[in-house]
């Protein structure tokens, strides 16, 4: 997966399907439309391990609006809403 990521198109994790695997390219909080300020959202994402180069996989999703999602980040699992996951750009 790691060496294919530069050939894949970048997309926000918030749009990815269940089962998606990829690598974080960068964080872009201003596109997420979260209620948090950009800096706050970015800080929180980093604090939960969403940093550039981390491998992510969408393991599960909720029933209503396929939201929230359970994301494997390296070797931990984090639940986030798709709205906040829009800030995580993956490929």
């Amino acid at each position: 997966m790691t060496n294919t990521h530069d050939t894949r198109r970048e997309m926000p994790l918030g749009l990815a399907q269940c089962g998606y695997t990829g690598v974080i390219q960068h964080l872009s909080a201003k596109d997420a439309g979260s209620a948090l300020s950009d800096i706050e959202l970015e800080s929180r994402l980093i604090e939960l391990g969403f940093v550039e180069g981390a491998r992510v996989e969408i393991l599960h999703e909720g029933l209503v609006g396929r939201d929230p999602i359970a994301v494997r980040v390296d070797n931990i699992t984090i639940a986030v809403r798709r709205r906040e996951a829009m800030a995580i750009i993956v490929a």
Partner: protein, 623 residues
């Protein structure tokens, strides 16, 4: 020579095993209290090191950084920085890490180092890490981090021996003046850089798992399935309700008959008079009517602690987040609201798991609208006296339907109130994003569950012994003074302050169809809602009190109109008058204002609902 008390603080990310370590170190020598002014639980414990050093240790709320984004996290930050009012700066910080998941903790540790506090990195859950084939070069890690590192297994006997030895060793050579504090909130780029540094250190010192946790993945395939997960959740809830209502029943009856017997004993041994009445009616039956809920509270906490220890709570929040989000509630509000069906007190206490202040407050405000078990005696009494036990549409029992309607109205009102709060009152708060670690499943540990239940039960009993006790004394006083004149034939209560108050309130309550006797019964109902049943009995001068519930029902059926009865049911859906709930709201929100607001809004709802019910019923000819 007597050494001064050594102060330790446990810091770490959520689920790293801080509480387990705390329990392992201190056993049952624990004190649970609240930090002044905030709702955060403060847990301090004591132990003695192998070399005989007296130690106090504080279990701080889990955090990913020192930024302090929730009241919990602010406590942790202020405590470590020595800014928490009335707290001693810790002499030594134990940074607790889940060894299977070091990335986030090592970053936290690099941030903590800047505070200059002496520190140890505790690699906890080392058993799980070894099982998964993770190996850590402890010496190299200590050198890279510049902090002593020790492994630990909090849930195994002797699993903290190395930590204890290291604590002794370090405390012997603690410098009088620790290093300077250079901490300030990290910028985004500093955070990133720190995470990079942490990742580099980990890749140098830790060989990562060859075997991921397949067990968790397999359980989650069912438990987090969009549809299957909700079914599992519903099943768990069903068992929990069953336990709270059915399993607790025999124990509660046992306690109740114990208190009744004690009351009878007092009645028989003491001469008739004030002392006898005070002990029997004021103290024993009053405090007893609250203590009978202990089994339900223990069962609810048993479930909550088991599910929490197992790692399921975060999953329940995940499943319910969007469903509750429609009403402006956070996914984490689910469990506290659920607990409130037994009693709002543990429910409100359980809101501590919600880290956002706005979400916690909304949940606290609506928790008393969940039909608590104390309303059941009142509902049962009125329904069986006034609602015929006939079937509607051939198969649904009308009495059951009314009961269901009362529960449903409570839930719908709670959601509506939450919705209104979201739109009108707390708009300036940013809705908390839902970001939560889903920890690997772990087998619950008997010891930590037992300690958890024990501390909660103790808190509950302490409250019953103080707040509720003083309430009951007050109510007994109102109902007993002044004494009836000699030779009076009416019930003694007719001459009491309670009756005077009841009659004064009557004009206010007349529009909703309540007479003065109901007004009087609502007063002792302040301490515990179900006391209203016994109070109605007293007021209508029926012998036998609670045992004669059916008899009270017959009397009520002759004295009240159907409209009054329905109005009373509507009142009890909201029933603002529960002193212990109000007291716990005051304590948990740290504010008299929110307590008053809860009381006021529930009073308004109760009055409006009763007014509507009464007038509609009268208009339909039930007056």
């Amino acid at each position: 020579m007597e050494l001064p008390l050594l102060h330790l603080a446990l810091v770490g990310t959520p689920n790293s095993g801080k509480t387990s370590l705390f329990n392992a170190l201190t056993g049952s020598r624990q004190k649970v209290a609240n930090y002044p002014g905030v709702t955060v639980e403060r847990k301090e414990g004591f132990f003695v090191t192998p070399q005989g050093r007296q130690v106090s240790v504080v279990d701080l709320p889990g955090t990913y950084s020192l930024r302090g984004r929730s009241p919990d996290e602010e406590i942790t930050r202020d405590f470590v920085l020595g800014k928490a009012s009335g707290e001693t700066v810790p002499d030594l910080v134990l940074c607790v890490a889940d060894s299977t998941n070091l990335r986030l903790t090592i970053r936290l540790l690099l941030e903590l180092k800047r505070t200059g506090r002496p520190m140890i990195l505790v690699l906890n859950m080392f058993d799980i890490a070894s099982r998964r084939g993770i190996s850590v070069d402890v010496e190299r890690l200590a050198k890279e981090l510049g902090v002593p590192v020790v492994t630990s297994i909090a849930v195994r006997k002797g699993g903290t021996a190395d930590l204890l030895a290291l604590t002794d060793e370090i405390s012997a050579k603690l410098a009088a003046e620790p290093a300077e504090n250079t901490w300030r909130a990290l910028s985004v780029s500093e955070l990133r850089a720190t995470q990079r540094e942490a990742d580099r250190i980990i890749s140098d010192c830790v060989s990562l798992p060859s075997r991921p946790d397949t067990w968790t993945a397999r359980v989650d395939a069912i438990v987090l399935h969009p549809v299957g997960g909700l079914i599992v959740l519903a099943l768990i809830l069903f068992v929990m309700f069953q336990a709270v209502f059915a399993w607790a029943q025999p124990l509660m009856e046992l306690l109740q008959s114990g208190f009744d017997a004690l009351g009878d004993l007092v009645h028989a041994t003491l001469p008739d008079g004030l002392v006898q009445s005070f002990l029997q009616n004021g103290v024993i039956s009053g405090v007893g009517s609250v203590i009978v809920f202990l089994p339900q509270i223990i069962i609810i906490f048993l479930f909550i602690l088991l599910l929490e220890d197992f790692g399921y709570m975060a999953r329940a929040a995940f499943l319910m987040d969007r469903i509750m989000g429609g009403a402006g509630l956070h996914g984490r509000a689910f469990i506290p609201l659920l607990s409130s069906f037994a009693c709002a007190i543990p429910g409100i206490m359980a809101t501590r798991v919600i880290d956002n202040k706005r979400d916690r407050l909304t949940t606290i405000l609506i928790a008393p609208l969940m039909t608590c078990s104390a309303r059941i005696p009142v509902y049962t009494l009125i329904i069986s006296a006034f609602i015929p036990a006939k079937d509607v549409w051939g198969f649904i029992n009308l009495q059951g339907l009314v009961m269901f309607g009362l529960y449903a109205t409570g839930i719908v009102s709670a959601l509506a109130v939450s919705f209104l709060i979201k739109f009108f009152m707390l708009r300036d708060y940013a809705p908390a994003p839902f970001m939560l670690e889903l920890p690997d499943y772990k087998m619950p540990r008997l010891k930590s569950i037992a300690i958890g239940i024990f501390t909660r039960a103790k808190m509950f009993l302490q409250r019953a012994g103080t707040t509720i006790f003083s309430m009951m004394v007050l109510i007994w006083f109102l109902a007993s003074f002044p004494q009836p004149p000699a030779g009076a034939t009416e019930p003694a209560i007719d001459f009491s302050l309670a009756a005077i108050i009841g009659k004064a309130l009557e004009p206010l309550l007349a529009p909703v169809g309540f007479n003065w006797q109901i007004a009087v019964a609502l007063i002792p109902g302040m301490a515990a809602r179900e006391v209203a049943v016994a109070a109605l009995g007293t007021v209508y001068a029926i012998e036998g009190g609670k045992e004669a519930a059916e008899q009270i029902g017959q009397v009520l059926a002759t004295k009240w109109s159907l409209a009054t009865a329905l109005s009373m049911l509507a009142w009890y859906i909201f029933a603002p008058q529960c002193a212990s709930t109000l007291a716990v709201i005051r304590r948990e929100t740290g504010s008299w204002g929110w307590m008053a607001a809860t009381f006021a809004y529930m009073l308004v709802l109760a009055y409006a609902a009763s007014l509507l019910t009464y007038n509609v019923a009268v208009a339909l000819g039930a007056g």
